[in-house]
Symmetry: D2
Subunit: 284 residues, 4 copies
């Protein structure tokens, strides 16, 4: 893997903006691996992502930051520069179902997902087996004994101790408290087992079965304090029929959950997602 | 096209039922073109559709009905026998958008849909052009002048005069009154421009845009007095991204609407749909 | 519809290129509606498309061309500037099947496709009906009487007389001669009724049926003198099963053909397609 | 899981056949969980699968076989009765890539796939790690040292020793010799990483990249001595664009491979697949 820097910009659309950024990059001998632009015509907001080969660049990470800051200020940018060589630290939270968790672990193990996974946290002990295989520390937080408040306090402590960048809820069946949602805003990714906004809340496959839909799906989204209402990153669907029981739908839906979550997490880890109000720009 | 009879049965599941029906068909030299079965494990209801070549059968339509009735009564069947040679009469109702209406007309014109289309009814005059091309009588019902009650009374009269079997709402933007929904229960097919139950009601594409979903869709369903809550026949979806405006979504969604409606109408015309409570069995 | 200019560039990738183009656009007050970039890492070729609002720009079409030419030469660009206000002229060629032709006509009629359609040409008289409805001159070229060489000579003459920009083969069942393929290179779009490279050549649905595939499809591509081997613009597929006869596959495949062709034609008309060797860059 | 018997029949289509089978089932108090029929109109061949609850049936497995044999002979059936309580024994063969193998193991581990997996065989030692996790004996067959003939002789011996019912090639990169293909006919399932018949043979993703297709896929099929030409069970596809490198296509294709193989294997294990000439009937 070649080392790259990713320059991600979110600012008001202005004439001269792209020229200035491009000139800056050219001045520093940047070879562009991938470039994406988007203007939200409704809000006049501009979004840009550049993936730049680090080898030819005549700036290191720190000097890039220093050199770019004046330009960023001039154009009122919200921006970041990330280094592909510096892996994000991901915490996986799960409950009983293993399919999403094991899928993420395997993609990480085979280097499809470039990140570190320093810990797995669960409100049930059952997933420990998989954590052990992948040699990832496993923390069972016993919600029943601790109570919800205390349990989430322990989770919060763990996320801090492990210096977690992004928390992935891999079919974690507990609702995060408001304060944690706010504190980790934009850094918690959930997979909901329906094509939202259909069938928000509990037992979506049963809801789908009862309604008689002909498609089921899954939605990968950022967690906010409004349950199942956060910015959507990715969705997947699958065709079903009258002959599918609610259990068949659970089984078929898992394939949607796995791929929607894996894509969403990868987009996030590669800095391809920008949250804009309650929506996302995804430079997939 | 070979002439076929379609025997569609809906009854409590019972041992011996399939044997009795199959024996009846064998006794009368029926060649089965297509056979489908489904048992709803939850309700214990059994559904069966046979498509039978009429040529080799030693019964005509009337004598089949007479001969089968005792068996049907024995097993408490709701059932029907239809003759593929007898075309159903379809009324198309439209408003301003022509894509669904023109698509249905073209599939009818090229004999993909086996039906008669004796009339097109609209609350706007604009679609007359297409009706004229296809030489179908066009009735403009002026809702503004007549008022909603009077307008629907005229529509009801037209449906009776034309002896309509099934009414297709091809992006007809008026809500049918309760009494008409009830009277025509199971005989009015609508296309809603979202993947229901998401974005029921008005302006679904704008709702989808505002929510930031990554998939848009369309739903073909039977009309009931609960708006957008009737039994779903078919759904279609299409992937979108942040770069799609609400207008792009309208454009892309039309392709979903056209195919979902065309499939739904064909399934209905070929007696492939059985309504069970608020859901459908579709032997597609 | 707002008027836009589309600047489409294809040149060797070079540092400073994007900066120069962006600066040029900024100097002339260009508001960018949409911008897309792509570098082919294998060939080192760079592709860029800008859609620019014409209203705020301080250049008209001719002066843009004049002002941009020195820059284009400096970077060895193959480039074009198109004006959304100037519609391309499309010839539709068909044979017996009407679904693709009627679909293109309807999308044009409802202004989804921004183009002129000054003529329809066919080797059969049957499609005249649809041409008449849409008031488009129809030319029946009688291949049987004329022979293939003479027939294509007449078609070539018609394309010249009507000053056609792009020719769309809407299920036209004659193979274009080599000289015409070369002369109209990059300006003839075909729809092939399989997911190429599977089932090139004649009777693809029968081939698909015989092979027992579980998906059928359609491919929209530019025509070259290598039959069914030209650059692919768009593909669509649909799931089938053992219960589909070859005729069912024809019916289901039509929906793929219609959408793949409509998308491909729209991409072409909006200058979203760049041919690179035997492949396409499609800024969809 | 309730215990079921699966009665799978393949015979010439005959009037009275379904009646006789249904009457047999009714006579023995069979509760039908699922029933599927198909007639191949071209060959006049009839296919039927019944899944029967074993609890209410007044026959055990052996007496069912005995009682049904006269009927089967009368109608010249190829048939089998399987017992869901008796798990098939599956051998997994892999090489270097782990995604398909690990996916099958996980679905087996979580009881989505009802089978035994008594061994994993590979021509590389690398997958041993996963075999160990799932506590499945792992056999590394060193093709380089042994030579191909000797290596496959060892594999054949292993399959016999483990009494394997079905062999799954989970991205196993060696071509089975003709004699083994014939011996295990209908009992070896492969996943090919393209939507066959496109890109048969080696390096399909590179072939797909070079051809510039807009969809990639995977094909699950039975292995025959004609490489990549065996009966297709399942296919999956995914949309790609010009911005995908051959490596991106490998990554995206893996999701297709995983789901197509998992579905194909499940259909086989549940006796949902009947091979008819070089095609399959799949009662999915």
């Amino acid at each position: 893997m070649q080392q790259t820097f990713r320059l991600v910009i979110d600012c008001p659309d202005q004439i001269g903006l792209v020229a200035s950024v491009s000139q800056f990059l050219a001045d520093h001998k940047a070879t562009i691996v991938e470039a994406n632009h988007h203007t939200d015509q409704q809000t006049g907001r501009f979004f840009m992502r550049h993936e730049i080969s680090a080898d030819e660049l005549n700036l290191d990470y720190a000097s890039f930051i220093a050199a770019f800051t004046p330009l960023a200020n001039e154009y009122q940018m919200q921006w970041k520069l990330t280094d592909s060589g510096k892996k994000q630290r991901v915490a996986l939270l799960g409950s009983l179902d293993s399919h999403c968790l094991v899928d993420i672990l395997h993609r990480w193990h085979t280097a499809e997902l470039h990140c570190d996974i320093p810990c797995i946290i669960s409100n049930h002990p059952h997933l420990k087996e998989f954590a052990d295989w992948y040699k990832v520390p496993f923390h069972w937080i016993d919600f029943k004994t601790l109570g919800k408040e205390q349990a989430f306090a322990q989770i919060e402590t763990l996320l801090e101790q492990y210096a977690i960048d992004v928390t992935v809820l891999a079919r974690f069946m507990q609702i995060l408290p408001d304060n944690l949602c706010r504190k980790l805003s934009g850094r918690v990714i959930n997979i909901h087992h329906s094509f939202l906004p259909s069938f928000a809340g509990a037992r979506p496959y049963q809801q789908a079965y009862d309604r008689g839909v002909k498609l089921i799906g899954a939605t990968c989204h950022y967690v906010t304090s409004d349950l199942d209402e956060g910015p959507i990153i990715e969705q997947a669907v699958k065709r079903i029929s009258h002959s599918d029981t609610a259990l068949d739908m659970v089984r078929k839906g898992k394939d949607c959950e796995v791929t929607a979550l894996a894509h969403g997490v990868r987009y996030h880890l590669e800095d391809r997602v920008i949250i804009h109000r309650n929506k996302t720009v995804v430079f997939a």
